[in-house]
């Protein structure tokens, strides 16, 4: 079984729009939205919920005010300044490290598991989909990313499906590292801007660091041909394969507004042809 993870470094380069288009092209797949912080793929794939589960990523400390003697040991130990002058814990600042819970001399701190999100298995017109929603201002996005990817893999195995299409998060930090480990390949969607190029360079380094084969696609390539050429030059020098260019085309926004991918919106667009060519090259590259 293969897994393609779409990432970008910079946000808003078109990861999810392309992923939604691939959903129409790939056969026998599971869709997986691993951008748990701001998951958007469901806005196009319109999933029907089949399973809904709580995600418990970690613990949050709570002080029992009856038992607390205000000795201040916890405040001195807490590296997150989460314990206020009134000995109430700010749940947003609390990292869930348990130091106050373990070291309170009065055992006045409780440390319950915290439900910090949900994950779902759904049906879509394109096939099954695993997705999630991290609670607002919550920690542990990396754990939730690993969880949805594991569930997508289990689903693909049980249904004998060939490929997992995973929509990844922006950036290079914790959730991205959790999204790329063990993937068959990453498709880096970038745009020909100074920031698109800068951020693409960092994700190419990240993919190399974790030894994941990297493929590049330049979206909105005609916005700045010099930048497009520079991006492709950098990619080739750094063993990332340049698989295609997608034009700057309002069809992506128009179809999104309709809740459709570009093929549902228009079966025969020129941009659709470029996306199809890109998909064929990806298949060839990762062997599916």
């Amino acid at each position: 079984m293969k897994e393609l993870v779409v990432i970008s470094g910079k946000g808003g380069t078109g990861k999810t729009s392309l992923m939604a288009a691939f959903a129409s092209l790939a056969k026998n797949k599971v869709l997986c939205d691993a951008d748990v912080d701001a998951a958007d793929l469901h806005l196009i794939t319109a999933p029907t919920l089949r399973e809904r589960h709580a995600f418990q990523g970690g613990h949050t400390a709570i002080i029992d005010q009856e038992k607390c003697t205000r000795c201040g040991v916890c405040q001195d130990l807490c590296k997150w300044s989460a314990i206020g002058d009134d000995f109430e814990i700010d749940p947003i600042a609390c990292e869930g490290c348990g130091v106050c819970f373990y070291l309170c001399p009065e055992q006045a701190v409780d440390f319950p598991l915290n439900t910090c999100g949900e994950w779902f298995i759904s049906d879509t017109a394109f096939g099954p989909m695993v997705h999630a929603r991290l609670g607002i201002a919550e920690e542990n996005s990396g754990k939730l990313v690993s969880l949805v990817r594991r569930k997508a893999r289990e689903l693909a195995e049980s249904k004998h499906l060939d490929i997992i299409l995973t929509d990844g998060p922006p950036g290079v930090g914790c959730p991205v590292i959790a999204a790329v480990g063990g993937a068959s390949g990453v498709l880096i969607v970038t745009e020909p801007t100074v920031s698109g190029k800068h951020d693409m360079e960092r994700v190419v380094q990240l993919a190399a660091h974790f030894k994941i084969p990297a493929m590049i696609c330049v979206n909105k390539f005609d916005l700045n041909l010099d930048q497009t050429n520079a991006i492709e030059g950098f990619a080739e020098e750094n063993n990332a394969s340049c698989l295609g260019r997608i034009p700057f085309d309002p069809i992506f926004t128009k179809s999104m507004v309709q809740g459709q991918n570009i093929f549902e919106y228009d079966k025969a667009s020129e941009t659709g042809k470029a996306v199809k060519q890109l998909w064929d090259k990806i298949r060839e590259k990762i062997g599916c």
Binding site: G11, A38, P169, C174, D199, Q205
Partner: protein
């Protein structure tokens, strides 16, 4: 005053708003780029950097001669970063959250601090603008401690503008927390609206006053405007789509240089934010 500029969705124009706002004001202003995973503001500001500092986070180092294998360090650690196996102790510094629990709990004083490199903080300037950013080491997972290190350069007596990372989880919270105003930037599309709602939830959880900039305000539909009006989120600025803006951005040019009328619009944005913060 500290203004943070945030959005749930990436690529909506946070950096464009942060840099052009800062440059339009251009005196007694400090711009801090907290998107340490993918810092971009310097590509547009092009500051002269004059100081670079490597930032470390504390991780455990175990003196096996002192260790009696009691296992308390492994019990307290919530992140599986330290574990006693047979007669040795293994540490996994990349998993460590630097809570100091293992050091505090060890009865033998066998656990001491060493450092893991998070990345760098750079300081620079351009004319009257002071500039600071952080850059996470590629391969490093934890951005919040580096974001907090960058945030420590805030200058609340004057004006600090913070360019926050995308999303709604810990890195964004680290960038927005304890700021006086959150300026949200979105685009009028279904993705922009959905992620704006998440960002509004984060701002409400932190109880910070906020306002909205709608970028490429004519590309999608009108649901973002309708939502903002419905929840009473003031729309402070709308920037229409213009290919000249997109091309200027692609080259790393400031849009206030390409379209000088925008400078007055950014100054008005600043005045409106001041009124909202002071009221």
């Amino acid at each position: 005053m500290i203004i943070s500029i945030a959005s749930g969705k990436g690529g909506t124009g946070k950096t464009t708003v942060a840099t052009n706002l800062a440059l339009s004001i251009d005196s007694d202003v400090r711009l801090i780029d907290c998107d340490v995973e993918e810092p971009n503001a310097h590509l547009f500001i092009r500051p002269i950097f004059n100081k670079t500092e490597t930032v470390y986070t504390s991780v455990p180092e175990v003196d096996l001669k002192k260790c009696n294998q009691c296992g308390q360090c492994g019990d307290i650690c919530q992140f599986k970063a330290i574990v006693v196996i047979a007669d040795t102790v293994l540490t996994f510094p990349e998993l460590c959250h630097s809570c100091g629990g293992c050091m505090a709990v060890c009865p033998e004083g066998a656990v001491t601090e060493t450092g893991r490199e998070l990345g760098v903080v750079r300081q620079g300037y351009r004319n009257g603008l002071e500039f600071i950013h952080g850059e996470l080491r590629v391969g490093e997972a934890m951005s919040p401690p580096l974001i907090r290190a960058v945030r420590s350069f805030s200058w609340p007596e004057k004006l600090t503008i913070i360019d926050a990372p995308p999303g709604t989880s810990c890195p964004v919270i680290a960038a927005m927390k304890d700021t006086d105003f959150v300026l949200l930037v979105t685009e009028p599309t279904p993705f922009g609206l959905y992620d704006l709602k998440l960002a509004v939830g984060a701002v409400q959880a932190l109880n910070i006053p906020s306002g909205l900039v709608i970028n490429r305000s004519d590309i999608g539909d009108h649901k973002v405007q309708a939502y903002a009006n419905e929840i009473g989120l003031p729309i402070l600025m709308e920037i229409p789509f213009d290919r000249r803006i997109a091309e200027a951005y692609s080259k790393g040019e400031m849009i206030v240089d390409t379209m000088p009328w925008l400078k007055d619009a950014f100054l008005k944005l600043y005045r409106d934010i001041k009124v909202l913060v002071e009221s």
